[in-house]
C-alpha cells in the first residue's frame, strides 16, 4: 500500500511537486503519467526516502517514507528512471552485490529474468548499451520478488520486443497480487498494464481515474488519404478536420469507429492510419493548459 498526503517539494520557479496526494491499495497496478519534468521522478524519490526535506507525508505499508526506509526496502523493488550503475563491476557482480545487500541468497529468479530478457550479464557494465543496462536494472528491481514495485519509466531504452516482455512480466506480478506503481510518459505502455492512471502536470495531479474511463474519453486521431479531391471535400463536411495536407485529412474521432468505417465505404480511399495522440495532446484535450 502506498499513500501520499499533500506531498510538496518546491524547488522554486514553479518546479517541484505541489500537494500530491494519492492512495494505492494492495493489489493494483497504477500508472503515473506525465510529460517530462512534470514531477513523476520527484514524487518517486519521496517514496524511496531520497528526499528528506519536504512538506506532507508519504507511507508505504503504513511505514513512514522519511524515517523507516530500512524496513520499507524489505518490501520494495525499485527501478530508477536514470540508470547510473556502479560501473567498475560486471553485470553478474552487481547482481550478486545488490542481492547480498538485500539479503537475497537465492539467485534463481534473477537468473530466470536474465534468460527471459536475453541478457548476458558477464560483460562489464561500462561496456553495456543503454538497453542492456535497463534490462539489468529490471532484473535488480524484480529479483527478490518484492511485494511492491516502484518502476520509473521501466521500458526506457528497450526495443519493442523487450518492451512486450516487460509488459508480460509486470502483468504476471500484477496477477500475483503485487502493488505496482509505474511512471511513464507513454500512454500506451500504461494502458497495457495498469488499471488506474494518475496524471501529473507541472507538479500537481490533474487526473486520477480508471483506465476504462480514460479510454472512453480518449479522442482517437485518424489520417485518411483520399484519391479524389471531390470526395475529400465531401467527407470534410461530416467530420472535424484538424489537419489537411493535400488529399490527406486528419480527423479527431469522437464517434464510434464502426460509423467511420461505414462512412469511408462510400469513398475511394488510398490509405488510413491511426495516429497516436501524444501525452501532451491528451493533456491538452482533457485538461487544457
Amino acid at each position: 500500500m502506498i499513500v501520499t498526503k499533500g506531498l510538496t517539494k518546491d524547488y522554486g520557479n514553479h518546479r517541484g511537486i505541489f500537494d500530491v496526494s494519492f492512495s494505492i491499495s494492495g493489489d493494483s497496478c497504477v500508472g503515473f503519467l506525465g510529460p517530462n519534468g512534470a514531477g513523476k521522478t520527484t514524487t518517486i524519490r519521496h517514496l524511496l526516502g531520497f528526499i528528506q526535506n519536504f512538506e506532507g507525508e508519504a507511507y508505504i505499508n503504513n511505514l513512514n517514507c522519511k524515517k523507516d526506509q530500512v524496513e520499507i526496502q524489505k518490501y520494495v523493488g525499485y527501478l530508477p528512471g536514470e540508470i547510473n550503475f556502479i560501473d567498475d563491476l560486471n553485470g553478474d557482480e552487481l547482481i550478486t552485490l545488490i542481492a547480498r545487500m538485500k539479503g537475497v541468497n537465492d539467485l534463481s529468479y534473477a537468473n530466470h529474468l536474465l534468460e527471459r530478457f536475453e541478457l548476458k550479464a558477464t560483460s562489464p557494465i561500462k561496456k553495456m548499451s543503454k538497453g542492456m543496462k535497463q534490462k539489468l536494472a529490471i532484473v535488480i528491481a524484480f529479483m527478490n520478488d518484492p511485494e511492491i514495485l516502484i518502476l520509473d519509466e521501466p521500458s526506457s531504452g528497450l526495443d519493442p520486443l523487450m518492451q512486450q516482455k516487460l509488459v508480460d512480466l509486470i502483468l504476471e506480478h500484477k496477477k500475483r497480487g503485487k502493488t505496482i506503481f509505474l511512471s511513464s510518459h507513454s500512454f500506451e505502455e500504461v494502458e497495457k498494464t495498469c488499471d488506474r492512471i494518475i496524471m501529473i502536470k507541472n507538479g500537481s495531479i490533474v487526473n486520477d481515474s480508471h483506465v476504462d474511463q480514460l479510454k472512453k474519453e480518449q479522442i482517437r486521431k485518424y489520417e485518411i488519404e483520399f484519391i479524389k479531391e471531390s470526395e475529400a471535400k465531401d467527407f470534410a463536411q461530416y467530420y472535424r478536420i484538424t489537419h489537411q495536407d493535400g488529399l490527406s485529412l486528419t480527423i479527431d474521432l469522437q464517434d464510434t469507429f464502426d460509423s467511420l468505417l461505414k462512412k469511408l465505404a462510400q469513398y475511394e480511399i488510398q490509405d488510413i492510419t491511426q495516429k497516436d495522440l501524444s501525452l501532451e495532446e491528451i493533456f491538452m484535450k482533457y485538461y487544457g493548459d
Binding site: P80, N84, D87, L94
Partner: protein
Amino acid sequence: MVIDMINMALYKKEMKSNLMVFLIFLGLSMLYGIIVTELFDPAIENQSWIEMLRDIYPEMLDFVGFNIGNLTNYQYFISGYLYGMLFIIFGLIFANILSNRLLFRYIDRGSIAFLLATPNSRTKIISTQIKVLGTYLSMMALSMYLIVSVFGEIFNPSYVDFGKLLYLNISFFLLLCFISAIMALCHSLLDGKIAVGSSIGIPVFFFFLKLISNLGEQYEFVSYFTPFSLFDPILCVNYDGLSFVYNGILIVLTAILYGLTIYGFNKRDLSV
C-alpha cells in the same frame, strides 16, 4: 552504534575496487621511500651536499621542511625528508582519490540509488564507505612504516628505532584520517564542482599555511591556523608529550567531522 555499522558485501566490493589505486600509491611511496632511506648517511663528512644546499637555498629547505637539526639521527632524517612534505602530499592525494571514488562519485552519478534501494540505512552505507577509506589509509601508513623501518634497517643497520617510527606513523595515520574527514564532509554534503574543489582545496590551503609557517620566526604565527601543525614529526620521534596532545586533538576533530558527515548525509536530499 555507527562504529559497528557496516555492510560486509559492500565493504569487500570497495576494498577490491580500490586496490589498484592503493598499489599505485604503494609503488610511489616505495620508490621515494627507498631512495630517501638510502640517502641517509650518519657520517658527518659525507653530508657536504646537504650543507651546500643549505647555503644556497636556505628558505627553500625551510619551506619544504628539509632543514633538519641532526642529520646523524635516522629518525630526524626521515621525519624531515619524507614526513615533512612528500608522504603528506602522497597521503593527501591518495585520500582525495579514495574519498572521491567512495563517496562523491556515487552521489554525483546517482549510483547511490541502487545502494539505498536495499534494506540498509544511509548511516550504514556511508559508514561502510568511510571504513573502506580508513582501512586503506591505515594500510598506507603501515606500508610507509614498513618501508622506512625495513629499508632503513637494511641500508643503515642499528640506526633505526622501530618504536619511534611506529609512533610517527600512527600520528601520520591520525593526520590522514583528519584530512580524509574534511574531504568526506565536502564530498558527501556538497554538489558538483564545489564538492570536488573544496575537498582538495581546503586541505591544500591548510598545507600551504603549514609550509609558510616553516619559513622562519616571523611566519610562525601561521602555524596556529592550520591543522597540519598537529602533526609534528620531530615531536613524534622524540615521544614528546605535546605530540600525544596533538594526536588526541586530531582524534576528536576527526570524530566530529565524520559525525557531521554522517549526520549531514542523513538529512540531505539526494537527486538520484
